[in-house]
């Protein structure tokens, strides 16, 4: 861990933040949109007979996990657009790094996600690097974990993101 890290950021390491429930349940329209976006013809998502036989009914593509945690573009009564992975955006602000990209993503899949599920998440900052220089600019790498559970409390997945927040080279 970086020694020059501001104390308020260091205090957040491994703390549970932003425990949130999905805004609306997992639904098949989004599953089909996702499968269509990559022309995924896996019959699990298109043929109810195959889904019934292999997965006990329809499921979502595992790789859609993070989709269920991203807020929609708008919701009634919301004045400001909600951001996904808020810890990432908080770090940009706290560390004064206006730009950021994601570099690594690891996802572990547990119980399948099914239409009708409501997925809850929490975020944990795992680490922040010292300042580093890359071709994008000067900044820091950080790792954020997101844990996903269904409404029965079953673990459905854990996602680990590495972000790089930076200032563009002059």
């Amino acid at each position: 861990m970086s020694e020059d890290l501001p104390a308020d950021v260091a205090a957040l390491i491994d703390q549970v933040q932003y425990e949130e429930a999905g805004e609306f349940p997992v639904e098949r329209g989004y599953i089909w949109t996702s499968a269509a976006s990559v022309e995924n013809g896996n019959p699990l998502f298109w043929d109810d007979k195959v889904a019934a036989e292999l997965t006990g009914g329809p499921i979502a593509p595992p790789s859609m996990l993070s989709t269920w945690f991203r807020p929609h573009h708008w919701a009634p009564g919301r004045e400001v657009q909600r951001l996904p992975l808020q810890v990432h955006f908080d770090l940009k602000e706290q560390l004064g790094l206006p730009e950021a990209v994601m570099t690594d993503n690891t996802i572990t899949f547990y119980e399948p996600v099914r239409p009708g599920d409501t997925i809850s998440t929490c975020q944990r900052l795992r680490s922040v690097s010292p300042e580093k220089q890359t071709k994008l600019g000067t900044g820091r790498f950080w790792v954020i974990d997101v844990e996903y559970r269904n409404e029965r409390g079953e673990l459905v997945g854990v996602e680990s993101w590495t972000g790089f927040g930076y200032r563009r080279a002059a």
Binding site: N40, D104, T108, F109
Partner: protein, 161 residues
């Protein structure tokens, strides 16, 4: 349904059939929409080029995950169950690029619960540029009547490497 791919038919060094796809702005935008990713660099050319300083809008990470899943399960068939994917983005995939995915089997094991696992290294190229590398762990049947999706709780260990 055709006979499923089973663990005995897979060995280290096996190559998956490559998949090539001509990426357009629509590919990138549909992929961002499908993952509820509203960040402007995935749909706004002006933002991507002026603010981010890249040549065009570019494919977002969650949509890349969907491409990796499709590529792997095209090979395994529907009984293939992803346990874990990890990927590293080294370069971006832009409209006009031909995206090519290639995969190699790096490990074949049966764990202590009897679940068959295949480890894969998958690459995503954008034209000649290596855009993303991916390591994946996918469960496939150990016999034609086996179904990894039936595994729950202690009999499903996706995190082991």
């Amino acid at each position: 349904m055709t006979a499923p791919l089973t663990i005995d038919a897979v060995k280290v060094g096996d190559q998956l059939p490559p998949l090539s796809y001509d990426v357009t702005a629509t590919t990138v935008v549909v992929g961002a929409l499908a993952t509820r990713d509203w960040r402007p660099q995935h749909h706004d050319y002006h933002f991507a080029t002026v603010r981010n300083g890249v040549r065009d809008i570019f494919m977002n990470a969650p949509n890349q995950a969907a491409w990796f899943e499709r590529y792997i399960t095209d090979w395994t068939g529907p009984r293939g169950r992803l346990g874990k994917v990890g990927f590293r983005m080294k370069d971006s995939v832009f409209p006009g690029d031909t995206m090519t995915l290639r995969g190699t089997v790096t490990d074949v094991t049966v764990d202590d619960t009897g679940c068959g696992w295949v480890a894969l290294d998958v690459t995503m190229h954008a034209d000649d540029r290596l855009a993303t590398t991916c390591s994946a762990r996918v469960a496939i049947p150990t016999a034609t009547d086996d179904n990894p999706w039936a595994r729950r709780g202690e009999s499903w260990k996706p995190e082991q490497s």
